[in-house]
């Protein structure tokens, strides 16, 4: 089968519609993952085992099972108990929860990497807990996390095609729909690959920059 330039040009606008949704889902999903990850990290540190153990188990469970199945679950099973999420919302929650388990690890590592002497110095300076977090711990913990977190955003971007399974018309789904419609897989799939490659080349550059920018703290 030969590459058909005319067909390729014809489908690009439709694919671009998909790119918009893909980016939307990635950004929203990242925002959820950042926040959820923070909660996971804090809850898992809790001294109360009735909090830390179940949260730990939940994190392990979500990390150990496929996002695709989790999406099915959110989309097709939750309505049975009265929770009806729109496809994009279900997708964003799915991505956010799944990646939240990864980002929680990043937060944990970032916080653990702040030397214990800093906690002690803060106590000796008589700072309250919230002051210690805001002025001492987080300003040191966050910068080294940024490149790692950004890396997960890029991974998430590459997993958005899964949302096709719950009828979100993102890039991959647009491409499949086009392929189904015209009985041609070569051009849509290749173009999607090219889109992903372009975005990830940019993100590699961005990640390198972030790594250099935040390598040194203080």
């Amino acid at each position: 089968m030969d590459w058909d330039w005319v067909f390729a040009a014809e489908i690009i606008p439709t694919l671009l519609d998909g790119v918009v949704i893909t980016i939307q889902a990635t950004l929203l999903g990242s925002a959820v993952a950042m926040v959820v990850g923070m909660f996971f990290a804090i809850l898992r540190r809790s001294r109360n085992v009735f909090v830390s153990k179940p949260v730990g188990f939940f994190i392990d469970f979500v990390r150990g099972t496929p996002l695709l199945v989790q999406l099915y679950f959110l989309f097709y099973i939750l309505p049975d108990i009265g929770i009806l999420l729109s496809p994009l919302v279900a997708g964003v929650i799915g991505l956010g929860l799944h990646y939240g388990t990864y980002t929680s690890e990043v937060y944990r590592a970032g916080i653990d990497n702040v030397p214990s002497g800093q906690w002690e110095a803060a106590k000796a300076a008589n700072l309250t807990m919230p002051q210690t977090w805001c002025h001492v711990i987080l300003p040191q913990a966050i910068p080294p996390m940024i490149p790692v977190l950004a890396n997960y955003i890029v991974s998430m971007f590459k997993e958005t095609p899964l949302l096709a399974a719950i009828t979100v018309l993102e890039l991959m789904n647009q491409a499949r729909s086009l392929a189904n419609f015209h009985y041609r897989y070569l051009e849509p799939m290749t173009l999607v690959g090219v889109f992903f490659l372009i975005i990830s080349v940019f993100s590699v550059v961005l990640l390198r920059w972030l790594e250099n920018r935040f390598k040194r703290v203080g």
């Binding site: 097709y76 496809p87 392929a179 189904n180 009985y183």
Partner: protein, 261 residues
């Protein structure tokens, strides 16, 4: 490519089975809990192939849209999934003579609250969303009638579509009559009903699809199919599934393709 094509049937005979694509959409195609492949389309294909000397069929489940690319990519030897014979598909593959016919129908909430009776009516309504199976005929009908892309929800498989109708994610679910009745029977949900036939849609007839170049195989297949139709064996296979054997005899591939294929 013709030299190789002559050998298609020989090859199938030798390997003892034919690889077919199905969709798992009863009563057209169905995988039983023990993994057995059945449904009207595979049963017809199985009977015809047996007469041609090919022992059995081995089925892979596939999206409708992926079937024709799959044939082109030589993933299957044929599609026996109740793929409707339509001119643009005739350009891409070779069809057998029609075997299974059905009209289009809508599954809707009880009492058809939006009162839609045609794809045009869906297009005209403000917000009605129609569910269609990816790559199926209904997707093209809906888009062709002017329903905007955002309101044509491509569901990944038949069962998901019904669930989405129940959950109110879509207002109308378009599939052939027999598919909808099977789904509704299984769901046993008094809140749903079927509307059929959909106005302004013809009766569609499906055939078995072969790759381009497998003309000889297709012709042998047609010959056996014709014999079975006249002997009444064909009716014995399809009627238990709810299909009319007669409907398939009233039309022909040439008519459905709008020319030779």
């Amino acid at each position: 490519s013709d030299v190789r094509a002559e050998g298609d049937l020989e090859r199938l005979k030798e390997q003892g089975f034919a690889r077919i694509a199905i969709a798992n959409e009863p009563p057209w195609t169905e995988v039983k809990s023990d993994g057995k492949v059945t449904g009207a389309a595979p049963e017809v294909a199985r009977a015809v192939l047996k007469r041609l000397g090919v022992g059995d069929v081995v089925a892979s489940i596939s999206e409708y849209g992926a079937m024709i690319p799959g044939i082109q990519a030589k993933r299957f030897d044929m599609v026996a999934a109740g793929l409707f014979i339509k001119p643009e598909r005739c350009n891409a593959v070779l069809f057998s003579e029609p075997d299974l016919c059905d009209a289009e129908s809508f599954a809707v909430k009880k009492g058809n609250p939006l009162g839609v009776k045609s794809f045009e009516a869906i297009a005209a309504s403000e917000s009605a969303k129609v569910g269609v199976v990816g790559g199926g005929t209904e997707e093209k009908l809906a888009l062709g009638a002017g329903v905007p892309r955002e309101r044509v929800v491509v569901v990944p498989d038949p069962q998901s579509g019904l669930k989405m109708l129940q959950d109110g994610r879509i207002d109308v679910y378009a599939l052939p009559v027999l598919s909808i009745s099977d789904l509704l029977k299984k769901a046993n949900d008094p809140g749903l009903e079927m509307f059929a036939p959909v106005e302004n849609t013809p009766i569609f007839c499906a055939g078995v699809a072969f790759p381009k170049g497998a003309g000889a195989l297709r012709d042998s297949y047609d010959k056996v199919l014709a014999e079975m139709k006249s002997s009444g064996e064909f009716a014995k296979i399809v009627e238990p599934f709810g299909y009319s054997a007669e409907a398939a005899s009233l039309t022909s591939r040439e008519k459905l393709c709008g020319g030779p294929n």
